[in-house]
Amino acid sequence: MSERTRGAALATVAGLAAGWLALALLVWLYGESPRGVVADLVAGTWGMPYGVGQVLYKATPLLLTGVAVDLALRAGLFNIGAEGQLAVAGLAVATVASRLPAATPAWIAIPAAVAVAALAGAAWAAPPAILRARYGAHEVISTIMMNRIADAVVGFALVGGLAIPGTVRTPEVVAGAHLPRLEALGMQSMRGSAVSLALPLAILVALFAAGWLARSRIGREVVLVGLGPIACAAEKIPVARRLATALMLSGAVAGVASIAPVLGYKGYFESGLGAGAGFGGIAVALLGRGHPAGLVLAALLFGTLEQGGLVINGRVPMEVTTVLQGVVIVAVALADARVRSALLWRRTA
């Protein structure tokens, strides 16, 4: 293990320990026993096959949004807009997949649906990408504004004719567009949980994104732009175009995250479906440190917390897990800064 990897691992452990303490403190303040609540949380998630399935189901969109945020982060951009990109893509996927001919086979319907999700997500990331690449407007505020606009646009589109009249949900997608659940593929023990083929797909996307960043010319340039845009400009790398590429690709992956709830679980889109995964993806990306294995582990951690929050909701408010996300992000970043300066100090000493 290199010194850098060891440092990152150390910082992560320290961050998680701080998160653990914060959880215990909040539970204790609420008047419950931390030990009992944590025991419930573990038993309800990793302690039973259904719980494991649910954790994996919750981790699926988180992994994809985590990869999405990470892609932008590599170029030095914060994509806070995954939330809106996912919502718009979810609506687009459900709308298109419900209007395909009823007999469309899965090998056409599913790739088509994934493509629609990616295109819709990328399209929703395009205005901030152009504002940033062409005019230098900071992407943090613009992507947040796009989230709010997405809420309004999705609501308008649902009321305005895409939903079944009188409801806030779209019609059911055609049979071929349903992503098979893992329980239907021989993993009987996860019966009832919504984990679907979207999970292996998400892992493939994570691996592919890592390979693309490490090996393709454009991917390498994206990483280099993130490391030093001025040097890149001097080397005639088209910096603005690479920034736009990274942000729109990030939007595309965030869009694909919508297929886990839409095609793998509900079979339709409804207002609010998949909400929260976009912000969760930021935490996953910050914890995953740009490594596919790190992203998978971080998605599993936050998937566990999300499912665990539901399990313990009767004893303590499930919102403790949201607080925990914030604490872990800050604690890991703080520990990271410590490790970084220690490494720097050792190198110069």
């Binding site: 943090v140 646009v153 305005g160 408010p317 949201t322 604490v327 800050v330 703080l334």
Partner: protein, 308 residues
């Protein structure tokens, strides 16, 4: 009443002024923080936490004034936390701000459920009620709005911030830390201390805005900040980091908010479109600023040491 005459009425003006208060307080918070060199996207979380802090103390003590103090204190504490993480902990300000906003969303719901057994809203609070100026006419409403303690306090804070930033020793130090932290340090200014103070002061003002927002609705609702902290930040950038102009920009965003509320009573579809007006306007404003910056028009106004 037609939509247009509703928009051009005294009621509308009153609504705009009322809605501008949280924006302007958050904007002032942003000016103080960013003029000292600390990027602050935590304004959103501070509005939320300050609002809840104010309502909790108001409910507990029955005194709206105690709530105001509590809201400002919570805002200052979170501002200080953000500054500590960024200045002393050397964490990216965006990361810290995101984490604080995330934790604020969760923590406010947690506290609501812990204290009031509901994760969506608090019990109703009275807020400030001025007797003697009843009446439902637009003019009466306008009179009530202008004499509201929050409106007066906001006006005073805008003027005081502009003066303090430009005319006092502390303001000069804040600006020095924002423009050139290294140079400021070299003449003996304790840069990190000045930044901690400036961000905490900004947090207190922003927290006040949260209390105004909650008192205005006569209760705290989870997520009630609704992106106002981010819009206020756009107003700060639009203003070139100047308190008076930031408040003016906030007034413009508030006018769109007020239009949106009037239009929501129209057909349902139109309501959705109106809902995105302030956000769309923010995007357009960002584009306009960035374009002007490209032409070198506002480069000189960005605090040169922002984020350094």
């Amino acid at each position: 009443m037609s939509a247009l005459s509703a928009i051009l009425s005294a009621t509308m003006l009153a609504q705009t002024l009322r809605m501008a208060i949280p924006y302007a307080c958050a904007g002032l918070g942003g000016v103080w923080s960013e003029r000292s060199g600390v990027v602050n996207i935590a304004l959103e979380g501070i509005l939320l936490s300050g609002g809840l802090g104010g309502v909790v103390v108001h409910v507990a003590t029955g005194s709206p004034w105690a709530g105001v103090v509590a809201g400002a204190a919570v805002g200052a504490a979170i501002g200080l936390l953000h500054a500590l993480i960024v200045v002393r902990g050397r964490v990216d300000a965006i990361v810290s701000g995101l984490a604080i906003n995330l934790a604020a969303v969760g923590a406010t719901r947690f506290v609501l459920r812990a204290l009031y057994a509901s994760s969506s809203n608090s019990p109703p609070v009275e807020g400030f009620r001025w007797g003697g100026m009843g009446g439902a006419s637009g003019a009466a409403l306008l009179a009530r709005t202008v004499t509201d303690p929050f409106a007066l306090a906001t006006a005073v804070l805008v003027a005081a911030s502009a003066w303090a930033l430009m005319q006092t020793r502390f303001g000069l130090r804040v600006r020095a830390c924002g423009e050139g932290p290294v140079a400021a340090a070299s003449v003996g200014v304790d840069v990190s201390r000045v930044r901690l103070l400036a961000v905490a002061l900004g947090g207190a003002i922003c927290g006040l805005g949260g209390v105004a927002l909650a008192y205005d609705q006569h209760q705290f609702q989870s997520g009630m900040s609704g992106g106002r902290g981010f819009i206020a930040l756009a107003a700060v950038i639009l203003s070139g980091w100047r308190p008076g102009r930031a408040a003016a920009a906030c007034l413009a965003f508030a006018a769109l908010d007020a239009v949106q509320i009037v239009m929501q009573d129209q057909a349902r579809g139109v309501g959705y479109l109106a809902q995105m007006l302030p956000y769309l306007a923010t995007l357009v404003a960002l584009w306009a600023i960035a374009r002007r910056r490209g032409e070198g028009a506002i480069e000189g106004r960005v605090p040169a040491g922002l984020g350094k």
